[in-house]
């Protein structure tokens, strides 16, 4: 009988636990959105103002030593795309392609890297934008990271060829800008790529 005194509260506790299962983290009441009839949420003055470009942190840029392990050159650059004209044709022949799910620059692509490097060496005022792209077989955010990693791998390859990485800006488009809209291996192979865009100051 003595035991019941211990067990009964436990049983009550269990019953209480069962009764509340699934709602530990309460959901706050959803307040109706203001301006329900407006075309846009909070549509009082457009969808919000875009502030001017932020000042970019320039600290810690390696200018002389290039890390030997991949993934360690900060993206720091003073390139503001608004200040440049984009020449997409100049280096279009040197687009680099990647293996499935890989951001490793293949040996056979070194000639393309060298050509891009020469273009930058020959025009000291030019800067470079590298666009990283993926095929559609990864999920969206996964591909956004993979595309950035590809662009950064190309930037690192150019740095090894003596190009100051501060002259190079990267952007990942994930799978949002396929070169070929198809859904087969031929299209995918074309879409796993890094494109080089030459930047000339306006």
């Amino acid at each position: 009988m003595k035991m019941n005194k211990i067990v009964f509260p436990l049983a009550l506790a269990l019953a209480a636990t069962l009764a509340t299962t699934g709602c530990k983290h309460g959901f706050n009441k959803v307040t109706p959105l203001p301006g329900q009839r407006a075309a846009q949420v909070g549509d009082t003055g457009g969808s919000g103002t875009i502030p001017p470009a932020q000042t970019i942190d320039n600290g810690g840029l390696p200018t002389t030593t290039i890390p030997s392990t991949p993934g360690n050159i900060p993206t720091t650059t003073d390139i503001n795309l608004d200040d440049y004209n984009q020449d997409r044709a100049a280096l279009a022949a040197y687009t680099v392609h990647f293996k499935f799910d890989s951001a490793v620059v293949q040996d056979k692509e070194q000639a393309n890297i060298a050509s891009v490097g020469q273009a930058l060496t020959g025009d000291a005022s030019a800067k470079l934008l590298i666009e990283g792209h993926c095929d559609e077989r990864g999920t969206e955010e996964y591909n956004r990271s993979l595309g950035e990693r590809r662009a950064l791998a190309l930037r690192e390859a150019l740095a090894k060829n003596g190009i100051d990485p501060m002259r190079i800006k990267t952007i990942s488009y994930g799978k949002d800008k396929p070169a070929d809209p198809g859904h087969d291996e031929a299209a995918w192979a074309k879409n796993r790529r890094g494109e080089f865009v030459l930047l000339h100051h306006k």
């Binding site: 035991m3 530990k24 909070g42």
Partner: protein, 392 residues
């Protein structure tokens, strides 16, 4: 003696659990054993409602684990009308009594029907209902390229655009309990993370560093944001304050993506790569050692989302196509592959997921009850809809 005490304890605890369930009724006993994808739905008979009210009730109840059967086979009889406001009753056939009787007059028939569905769920289960909850998502005219961020009811109705930049957008994330989002936009020519108040319409960049800024995830208390930045030379997990200040790098791998928070705010789970294999991992939110999760049987895991009750991690496996998987957050069981789809996001009650599906073409948002595996497509906003985030 000790063994006897344990035995007695077991018997009494079992009895308590059984009695509790019996109070609910016989069929509920089975439902207390929730097996992912295999739990039996609660049979109900729905009668008297027409048009939109009937559609809403069916949608809401179906994706919260109810099935529609004849009155003879039903556990609950739901009866009512939508003529001049939604009115309804719920009768428990086993207890032989009416357990709910309500009428609604506010807003629209649609909203009233959601409210009645919520009351049915509250009365018959231990679940917090989701009928009046919101989602945010990305909508594109085509399956690739420019799009806008939208918010809508959880079933896709009442969709409204949040942005109008005609550029690539990604990964909306709600501030818990607030009408505010973080999302990625290429509006400034670079993938930047914006904070956008839906109340004021004002927005600002909280991460606009050179390189990649994406995949914002807000901590459960709303004070911190985890995200992917490549500013150190590779896409890694970083954490900052809600306003972008106090930035701190958490991971140092070559390629990380899709951070999410544990509901206690102590951990950040993310997708990464180790020894050329795609893995899910978690790291203390304040920094520390990375722990890899066991996702055996689910190749190339990405896009984890931790359930608000802390019990589950949903994610997407990439094995040719994409599949939604769920596993216990403590790793005690291997993942269960549920349905084809990607981008899972938990409902506030940790029972339902919103995700997108549709092969290589246009994506459709869909809602899935992970226990019964019942799912229904949401109403399409325009074009291709993806990356849903459930407000919670």
């Amino acid at each position: 003696m000790k063994k006897n005490i344990i035995n007695l304890l077991t018997i009494l605890l079992t009895a308590a659990a059984t009695n509790f369930c019996r109070a609910q009724n016989e069929i509920q006993i089975e439902n207390t054993i929730n097996v992912l994808g295999q739990t039996k739905p609660i049979p109900v008979a729905l009668d008297g409602f027409t048009g939109e009210a009937a559609e809403v009730l069916k949608f809401d109840l179906y994706v919260q684990g109810f099935s529609f059967v004849s009155p003879e086979a039903a556990q609950y009889l739901i009866h009512g009308s939508d003529a001049g406001g939604v009115t309804g009753t719920v009768t428990d056939k086993f207890a032989h009594k009416m357990i709910l009787s309500r009428s609604y007059n506010g807003a629209s028939t649609r909203r009233q029907a959601h409210a009645f569905a919520d009351d049915i769920v509250k009365t018959t289960t231990a679940l917090k209902p989701i009928g009046q909850s919101k989602i945010a998502f990305k909508s594109q005219p085509s399956s690739v390229g420019a799009g806008e961020i939208y918010v809508a009811d959880f079933d896709g109705f009442g969709a409204q655009s949040v942005t109008s930049d005609a550029t690539i957008v990604a990964k909306p994330a709600w501030v818990p309990g607030r009408l505010a989002l973080y999302y990625t936009s290429y509006a400034r020519g670079n993938p930047d993370i914006f904070y956008h108040s839906l109340s004021s319409g004002q927005r600002r960049v909280i991460a606009g560093y050179s390189g990649l800024n994406t995949s914002a995830a807000v901590s459960p208390d709303g004070s911190k944001v985890a995200m992917i930045l490549s500013k150190s030379g590779s896409p890694n997990v970083w954490v900052c304050n809600a306003d972008g200040s106090n930035l701190k790098r958490l991971t140092t791998g070559l390629e990380d993506s899709s951070p999410c928070w544990s509901p206690d705010g102590n951990w950040i789970c993310f997708a990464t790569k180790k020894a050329e294999r795609r893995r899910l991992a978690k790291i203390p939110a304040g920094g520390g050692a990375v722990q890899y999760l066991n996702t055996t049987g689910a190749a190339n895991p990405t896009e984890p989302d931790w359930s608000p009750d802390g019990k589950w991690i949903a994610f997407t496996r990439m094995a040719g196509d994409f599949d939604i998987c769920v596993m216990p957050a403590d790793g005690s069981l291997p993942p269960t592959v549920l349905v084809a789809g990607q981008n899972p996001s938990w409902s506030p009650n940790s029972r339902t997921l919103v995700y997108n599906r549709g092969g290589n073409g246009h994506q459709t948002l869909s809602v899935l009850d992970v226990f019964t595996k019942q799912s229904k497509d949401c109403r399409r906003a325009t074009g291709s809809n993806s990356q849903p985030a459930w407000a919670r």
